[in-house]
């Protein structure tokens, strides 16, 4: 494959470090000639794991963190450019290739820059110190007399200089990351903090960008996997004659793992549609209609207190003048909803495998694929290629496993493309969440006691990876369990109420396979907490903004809330807004706040809505967000993440719900599972707070957390009706307006 990244010079030279891997592993080329780096150091405590300087002065950056469209591809370059002191256009980047990049953990949790970038920054800073030391030896001067400038070490008096290429070109640094290596002075940043354009955008908008889905290998077969008609069903019989009319199509069956392959992709599609197979049995799914009741009635694996302070006895024995309030909030199962269904390409031959995947965790999944294939991990290489967006873990790893098993069975490279129905039906889902909250409000309108009880599906301890669909179907043993992400965070109020008791009740089951989905758990938790704060403010007859500010002690939190209020022209008054109940359209405003994961990014979100009473349709007319994620490497990329968080979460809150019957998911296309469309997109105003001296806190997730609460608060302000169950579809809003339970 060739990538069109004309703005970025190709890396030159050859870095020769250690022995090369066997040539059969050397097929993949994520950038031209990437495999010339095979055998390079990979240990994440070594500078050479991250950086190579070539004989022409260009630089290759090896990142274990990948860019799913978030901007890491430019931001990581900016970090290296700043700390190593080279121009960003001199840097080529290789991402997520297990044979070439250090294992920096999955690209998840909004930690791509906060952790991965910070590690890289230290590597580049260490590298610059190593170059200064080399320069000192070369120039016969003390390091204190030297400085760096755009790929050159020179004396501060300008007398002598040596280029990086001359000092180290194509040779190893040979040094460990120095956690004390001095970082550049933020006041003199040249690249960090600038909105440099992303190198992948020109190719993406001209159809030249190469996605995983576009990868073809010599001799590659196209495959479609046929999932069972019911979860856990066993394959009894396959009628291979049913696809006899499709040229070159062939059935592959391993126990209940069933696929068709063909030389031509359309023939694989046709064969998959035509194939007759007989299935039996299955494991009935729970009843979708009673999901939340069954969660509340579930056995509890364990209770986990998140915040406990003071005395909440006022909830059960309120004193005179104390009012109590209780509400339950429900968040349904969601699909990741990537626009392109998952794809996987694998080449397994003999005792070696190369797997191409859009996985956010190629390093983590290498061992998993190896186990399924019965290979040693060092014989498996996983190479990241861009997929169609990724917001946690969609079907990518499963599709890769599909491809790997098929390639092993057939001895040829195989590309598996999931269908739309496969993706909606079988991608691991965002888990359902149920939160019940209680508060006691004293005669002054103060929160005398707060209680959260959150019923959340538990993650299995030490689960090495999400169990693969294909491995289960093929009866290949694998660790069983579920993963949901850190979904317990932000179940407590971010305000300094004296008496708080917030507890997670971990439940063992979820209706479908689960995986982390963007901002795992925090969107639903903030929806419940920040809506309930609004309910309390309304009960107390207080302004929703003032009610929050009164007990918010974090000055950065106060700042984001005040910025949103100022921009919205927030008028202090209680909700709901006095309105004519007969007006066809009710309008209102809402606000919500999150301190993400309790100590990371701070976000305030304001929203204005119109609710059409007759139809129940909600129209979001304005979104205002203030966002403090500490140091921003590339503010425009942060802005894009904020916009994406807002729109994706509006989509989830307004429209989305996975529905299933006792056998399978029934919402398997975009009609049954609608998402936000262009006509609905509101204007979004974003205020970004740059803190050059602060650590970066991450922008990939936080702004999604307060979206649903701001929306529900705005609907309440407009209509006096409180929406507590997502999605806020028109029929549900209509029912709520009519006084039926919502």
């Amino acid at each position: 494959m060739t990538f069109s990244r004309r703005d970025f010079l190709k890396a030159g030279g050859v870095l020769v470090v250690g022995a090369s891997l066997a040539p059969s592993l050397a097929r993949a080329q994520t950038i031209p000639n990437a495999d010339r780096f095979l055998g390079k150091p990979l240990e994440a405590d070594r500078v050479d794991a991250f950086l190579a300087i070539h004989a022409d002065g260009s630089v290759t950056l090896f990142s274990g963190k990948v860019d799913m469209g978030t901007g890491g591809r430019i931001a990581m370059r900016q970090i290296v450019a700043e700390e190593l002191d080279v121009r960003p256009e001199r840097i080529t980047m290789i991402e997520g290739d297990t044979a070439l990049t250090p294992d920096q953990g999955s690209t998840a949790g909004s930690y791509g820059i906060a952790r991965g970038g910070s590690q890289l920054r230290q590597a580049a800073a260490t590298g610059r110190q190593a170059l200064l030391a080399l320069g000192a030896a070369r120039l016969g001067r003390g390091v204190e007399d030297l400085e760096t400038a755009d790929g050159v070490v020179r004396t501060k008096d300008g007398g002598a200089s040596a280029s990086y290429a001359d000092l180290i070109g194509d040779k190893a640094f040979g040094v460990a990351l120095d956690p004390k290596a001095p970082l550049r002075d933020p006041q003199r940043f040249r690249f960090i903090g600038k909105s440099l354009p992303r190198p992948d955008v020109p190719a993406k908008v001209t159809g030249r960008h190469k996605y995983l889905h576009d990868l073809t290998l010599p001799g590659m077969l196209h495959a479609r996997v046929i999932r069972p008609p019911a979860h856990g069903a066993t394959l009894k019989a396959v009628d291979e004659s049913s696809i006899a009319s499709v040229a070159g199509a062939k059935v592959v069956r391993i126990e209940s793992f069933l696929a068709v392959v063909a030389e031509r992709e359309w023939n694989a599609v046709r064969a998959a549609r035509q194939l007759r197979a007989e299935w039996t049995g299955g494991t009935p799914l729970g009843d979708h209609a009673t999901l939340f009741d069954s969660m509340r009635a579930s056995t509890i694996v364990r209770e986990q207190p998140i915040t406990r302070r003071g005395d909440v006895s006022a909830l059960d024995s309120p004193g005179p003048g104390v009012r109590t309030l209780s509400s339950t909030y429900r968040w349904p199962v969601h699909s990741h909803g990537s626009i392109g269904p998952s794809c996987g390409v694998a080449d397994v031959s003999g005792d070696r495998a190369t797997i191409w995947s859009s996985s956010q965790g190629t390093h983590r999944y290498r061992a998993a694929f190896a186990r399924v294939l019965g290979l040693a991990p060092e014989r498996v290489r996983v190479i990241y290629l861009d997929g169609a967006g990724s917001y946690g873990q969609n079907g990518a790893e499963d599709a890769a496993c599909d491809a790997a098993l098929l390639s092993k069975a057939l001895g040829r490279p195989v590309r598996v493309q999931w269908s739309r129905q496969d993706e909606h039906g079988w991608d691991p889902k965002g888990p359902p969440q149920l939160l019940s909250l209680r508060a006691a409000v004293d005669e002054r309108g103060e929160v005398a006691a707060w209680e959260t009880r959150a019923w959340l599906p538990v993650s299995t301890a030490n689960l090495p990876h999400l169990p693969f669909l294909a491995a289960d179907a093929a009866r290949i043993p694998q660790a069983q369990g579920r993963a949901t992400g850190l979904i317990y965070q932000n179940i407590d109020p971010p305000y300094q109420y004296p008496n708080v008791d917030a507890v997670v009740r971990w439940i063992p089951d979820a209706p479908l396979r689960t995986s982390p989905i963007r901002a795992p758990g925090k969107i639903a938790n903030s929806f419940a907490v920040e809506s309930f704060v609004d309910e309390i403010a309304a009960l107390a007859g207080a302004d929703a903004l003032a009610f929050r500010l009164k007990h918010l002690t974090n000055p950065r939190g106060v700042e984001v809330l005040r910025k949103v209020a100022a921009r919205m022209g927030w008028q202090a008054r209680p909700s709901p807004k006095p309105a004519d109940p007969n007006a066809a359209i009710a309008s209102g405003r809402g606000i919500a706040y999150v301190h993400y994961k309790h100590d990371e990014t701070l976000v305030a979100m304001g929203m204005e809505v119109e609710v059409e009473r007759a139809s129940g349709r909600i129209r979001v007319t304005r979104v205002v967000c203030a966002h403090d994620c500490g140091l921003m490497i590339n503010p425009d990329c942060v802005q894009a993440q904020v916009e994406g968080n807002v729109l994706q979460t509006l989509s989830r809150a307004l429209h989305e719900e996975i529905v299933y019957d006792r056998e399978r998911v029934t919402t398997v296309d975009w009609q049954a599972y609608p998402i936000l469309t262009f006509p609905e997109v509101p204007p979004i105003e974003v205020e970004l707070i740059q803190r050059l001296d602060a650590p970066p806190l991450g922008a990939g997730e936080a702004a999604s957390a307060p979206v649903a609460a701001a929306l529900s608060n705005a609907v309440f302000d407009a209509t006096g009706v409180r929406l507590r169950t997502v999605p806020f579809r028109p029929e549900r809003v209509r029912a709520a307006l009519a006084g039926r339970p919502a």
Binding site: S4, R6, M68, G69, T70, P197, R198, V201, P202, A203, K204, V205, T206, G207, R208, H209, K210, Y211, H213, D214, T216, V246, R264, E265, W266, N267, V269, R270, S338, I339, G340, P341, D386, G387, A388, G389, Y391, Q417, S419, R420, D636, A640, E643, G644, N645, V646, L647, Q648, S651, D669, W670, Q671, I675, L676, T677, F678, P679, V681, P683, I684
Partner: protein, 155 residues
């Protein structure tokens, strides 16, 4: 095996197909190497596979190749290149109007069809023209700005 002659990006091409009803999408991607047109649903629901057929935005995932033999097919690659983007693509670059970018080709092509019919669409018309193009990353606001920028001559 059927031999079909089609015209793609103003070039006459001949393809050999087992099934002449093969959706155009697969022919573009696998026979002609034009992988900028993307598979999203195969159901005409998402717009990722949009191409122009005689200037009209069309879902190539449900368009039989046999039906386009006398018509002009234009794909995202036929509009411009990274080195020489067309005005809409240039506007998308200026607005950085893509995240994962998987849905972007279809939006650029749909925008081209719109601007051919209506040189100066207002914002509501842009939104309406893109109503059938889905985006999951949430780049919509930038896409709208990019199309309006292109309509205003790049400013």
């Amino acid at each position: 095996m059927a031999t079909l002659k089609i015209t793609v990006n103003a070039t006459a091409r001949t393809v050999e197909l087992d099934d002449p009803e093969t959706p155009l999408l697969y022919v573009l991607r696998n026979d002609l190497g034009l992988t900028g047109t993307h598979f999203g649903c195969g159901l005409s629901q998402c717009g990722a596979c949009t191409v122009l057929i005689d200037g009209r935005a069309t879902r190539s995932c449900v368009t039989p190749t046999s039906s386009v033999q006398t018509r002009a097919v234009t794909t995202i690659e036929g509009l411009g290149s990274p080195e020489r983007p067309d005005p809409i693509q240039a506007a998308f670059i200026a607005e950085q109007a893509a995240q994962c970018g998987y849905c972007t080709s279809g939006m650029v092509v749909a925008a081209r069809a719109l601007l051919q019919q209506n040189r100066r669409p207002n914002e509501a018309q842009v939104r309406e023209a893109l109503a059938g193009n889905l985006c999951r990353c949430g780049s919509h606001a930038r896409v709208i700005r990019a199309v309006l920028r292109a309509a205003a001559g790049g400013r």
